[in-house]
Assembly symmetry: C2
Homo-oligomer: 269 residues x 2
């Protein structure tokens, strides 16, 4: 089966700690930004607990909804509650097998630190049949590359430094090559003195002026009693310069309309 058409990406975040509020999911924002800049459209994120059935469901759901790329974070370590590999294998209907290459990676890390290979460490070298380990330049648990339906799947650890290192060194070049080759640019400004509901029709007009720009307004409270709004204009294009021009053009159009309503505009670099 070939990859799904389009460039839809899904993110799966695994971990009880995210759902009981012990940890804030900064990995999602980091990956979302990276994937967007690479030209992928992040269609959704599913956060599930450390539970094999729930993890399997999340992967199946993302694949069924047309993902071309699925990236998961969390649940890859040596402890009993690291269940992402098992959950993904269940979604795939694949057996778990000891992977020689993965075992070599894990062994190398522990030997360097003077530790023995134990059952818990060997667990990190057990992959769903047909998957490949990805070297982890920072920690011990290798990442995993696989396929599910029409989706290319990457399983990454939840520790941000490890997740980022594996993504940047291994996954990003791969996704850039198979991606749409889109460039992405942003423009920000603040407007003081116009309430959000008054700005809303102007934002709509600005968006209609471009098929490639997106405008988001963020209320930021008040400044000396006057409503303070922040605007974030994003644009994508095949060329970086074109994307920058489009973001700037739409932002300036909107700023001009807001100024006509009496807003004071402050550009954010």
């Amino acid at each position: 089966m070939g990859l799904a058409p389009g460039y839809d990406a899904w993110i799966i975040s695994v971990g009880n700690e995210l759902l009981i509020g012990r940890v804030i999911n900064t990995n999602l924002a980091w990956l979302g930004r990276k994937l967007t800049l690479l030209g992928y459209k992040v269609r959704g994120c599913i956060t599930v607990p450390d539970d094999v059935e729930e993890i399997a469901w999340a992967f199946r759901t993302a694949a069924e909804r047309g993902a071309r790329v699925i990236v998961s974070t969390g649940g890859l370590g040596p402890t009993f509650d690291d269940k992402t590999v098992e959950g993904f294998a269940k979604a795939l209907g694949a057996k778990l097998v000891l992977d020689r290459e993965a075992l070599r990676m894990v062994e190398e890390k522990y030997r360097a630190g003077g530790y023995e290979l134990t059952e818990h460490r060997i667990k990190m070298a057990t992959l769903p049949e047909g998957s490949k380990p990805i070297p982890n330049p920072v920690g011990t648990a290798p990442g995993v590359e696989s396929r599910l339906g029409g989706a290319l799947v990457f399983l990454l650890p939840g520790v941000p430094a490890e997740m980022k290192a594996i993504f940047e060194e291994y996954i990003e070049p791969k996704l850039r090559e198979m991606g749409p080759g889109v460039c992405f640019a942003e423009a920000y400004f603040r407007a003081v003195g116009v309430p959000e509901s008054e700005a809303a029709p102007l934002v709509e007009r600005a968006m209609k002026a471009s098929a490639r720009a997106y405008v988001k307004s963020h209320p930021r409270g008040t400044e000396l009693g006057a409503p303070l709004l922040e605007f974030h204009v994003t644009a994508s294009a095949e060329e970086a310069e074109e994307a920058r021009r489009e973001a700037r053009r739409v932002a300036e159009l909107l700023a001009r309309m807001l100024a006509e309503k009496g807003a004071r505009i402050e550009w954010i670099e």
Copy 2:
């Protein structure tokens, strides 16, 4: 139809900004903690873009997976990309109608600020038939209370101050009353000198010593070259004192086993 059995909760986070990485979803962590402390089990979070179909899908999915409570954040304001009410109405198969009570709430806010009611402001008073508005003590968009299948549904704004105020003033007392009445306690400590994979079998043993405690280990890098781990023990019980005792008991058991392996233990208050 009555409420779903059990105390499963789902969180739905709406907003392109979460998926393109412009905003980190702190609302999820805050709500996850609150719901957990109230005795609910947060089974999942689905993050979707500002898209009516995707929002409708997320609500249907949470309800079908047995949620007793669904809380959404984001997409409730006056702008064209605030689509949560429309998406939820679609999941419900309900018409959108102008709600008199909601209109009164919105009108009051704007009149107080010297603003007129416009089409965009009236949008915030349009609710799925059969739903109720919830007063917003901080901002202008009312929250929404409704039902979907066996789930009680609350739609909240994405601005954290507004989301928190509505939750604490209106939803929390309600959920406490209809919840399992469970108490929840935590204990934290650090262990220096034992790697995570060596700690893993000890964590398993500690968990087996209690049916009501949960242990999570978080690698925190190294301290003078020695691995540093943080442990977080949570326990729930009908009585607060019982929960505290159980969390403490399991944490002390685990700390003792780690100390026997040569770890230095530091308690975190």
